[in-house]
Amino acid sequence: MNRKKTLLSCLKWGFVGLVLLLCYSPILLLAVYSFDKTDMIGKFEGFSFAHYSALFTNPKVLGMIGNTLLLAFLAATLSTVLGTAGALGMYYCKKRVKGTIHAVSQIPVINAEIVTALALAVTFVAVGFGKSYFTLLIGHMVICTPFVVLSVIPKLKQMDNSLYEAALDLGASPFNLSLDDYIVTMYTRPAGFDTISTYVYNATTKGNAHTAATLSSFWALTTILFVVIVLFVLVSNLVGRRKKEENA
């Protein structure tokens, strides 16, 4: 009986471990080849920090990282202000007004990103705005603000909001939503403006030797980010435990 139980628990955790391993294998592969001399994955030619030094010296790469971060920072700040104010205001509104705003807020969340992106692009061009940094920022805010509203409202009502908390845990904070976005950026960006997402997408689908060099410095970036995130999770876990012990 006991042996059967041990076997079962081995099987269970083996399965969890296997899925985790599969989830991490692409990132680990990039991490290994970020230390390779060449831009090719497959043959390890020799250990080098070339991709790391390129990451910090190549003005094109630095420009894209800057673009991505600044856009995410602006979009997150503005959506948080707009969304928090909106949620607070809604809380005091009549039920009908509140219900309408709530329903409209759900549209960008439920809707396919591509539909939101196309609708915005068509509208901007139709009214003669064209495409600029402003339209790009608006595009990101349309994706981010409803998330802020829909996660603030339950907090105001003191009710269970496990789903939106789950979404936030999954990285749906406005900052992360903007960092990751490809589709809306693609449709509302001004010509020649690249974020990490748009660049990597284009380099992957129609790449050449020139883009491969830039792409490989993003492997270095991924590795650094990954290490930072893992450290963050470990540290916050340790700190959380210490706090609990202090409380107890």
Binding site: K12, F15, V16, V19, L20, L22, C23, S25, P26, I27, Y33, G42, L82, G83, A85, G86, A87, G89, Y92, C93, G99, I101, H102, A103, V104, S105, I107, I110, N111, I114, V115, T116, L118, L120, A121, V122, T123, A126, I138, M141, V142, V149, L163, A166, L170, G171, N176, I183, Y187, I196, S197, V200, Y201, T204, T205, L215, F218, T222, V233, N237
Partner: protein, 274 residues
């Protein structure tokens, strides 16, 4: 004339204006574009063209099938994991849950790029007559589905885990006391009580996997066309047809949300406010 007084309610005015201009107006604009021609005359030609074109209809079916397969595989992988984690007495299980979420914090396009490199590496494994390499290089649909499962799995695990954590342990004790075995406990307790989690997980996976053409483009060698890709093909050259496809997609999205009860949860939210 009396100026409107500033009250707490007025805080939502900027947000309401923002929604009108950048959510409602754009939706009306695509409806307008979908039912007009190049000269802005009302026309149903796009509508007729869309529904009489077998390629377009088969793309919709393909997208639905890919999304369905992705959702089922995600559910089959995520359900046992959520179950194991939620029912385990391990103190550190939250850390394991976080491990599933951590990859989401790395740029999604970069992660799919990494997965593509894994596939290229796997395809280079030598085999007799290179059957394996040539199969994997050509298996565009397979790679697309794997990519989508890889990307959307955490969206399935998390809602399942949260609902399963809420199941009261005394139910399992009662089931064991009354002589129920593990299977009975699963079919009578875990499965019915985790239904809300299944529903929200399915919505979070099904809809993006029908439209997220970034995955299918990067992993399917541009051979896999899902409905999202269609819209991007029309982008810039025929906005009227593009809007028509977007409108069809919009209808599909809202119908499937309605079917999965996504709007019902919202009614409950309002109900608690009575």
């Amino acid at each position: 004339m009396k100026l409107p007084r500033f009250t707490r309610k007025s805080l939502c005015i900027p947000y309401a204006v923002f929604l009108v201009f950048f959510v409602i107006v754009p939706m009306l604009v695509i409806v307008f574009y979908a039912f007009t021609d190049q000269n802005n005359n009302i026309s149903f030609s796009n509508f007729i063209k869309f529904f009489s074109d077998p390629t377009k209809l088969s793309t919709i079916v393909y997208s639905l099938v890919i999304a369905l397969v992705t959702t089922v595989i995600c559910l089959l992988i995520a359900y046992p994991i959520a179950c194991i984690l939620a029912r385990s007495k391990l103190k550190k299980k939250f850390v394991i849950l976080m491990l599933f979420v951590v990859p989401m914090w790395i740029n999604f396009v970069l992660r799919i790029n990494a997965l593509r490199e894994i596939f290229n590496l796997l395809a280079s494994i030598p085999s007799e007559g290179d059957w394996w390499g040539s199969w994997l290089t050509g298996a565009n649909y397979f790679k697309t589905v794997v990519g989508m499962v890889y990307d959307f799995l955490p969206f399935m695990i998390l809602p399942l885990y949260t609902t399963m954590m809420k199941i009261d342990n005394s139910l399992y004790e009662a089931s064991a006391d009354l002589g129920g075995n593990a299977l009975t406990a699963f079919t009578r307790i875990t499965l019915p009580l985790s239904m809300p989690g299944i529903m929200s997980g399915v919505t979070m996976v099904f809809l993006p996997s029908m439209t997220n053409y970034v995955v299918s483009d990067m992993l399917g060698n541009a051979k896999v066309t899902i409905i999202g890709k269609f819209i991007s093909n029309y982008f810039g050259n025929d906005w009227h047809m593009g809007s028509m496809v977007a409108l069809v997609l919009l209808v599909i999205v809202f119908v499937s949300t309605w079917l999965s009860g996504g709007f019902k949860a919202e009614d409950n939210v309002r109900g608690t406010n009575l």
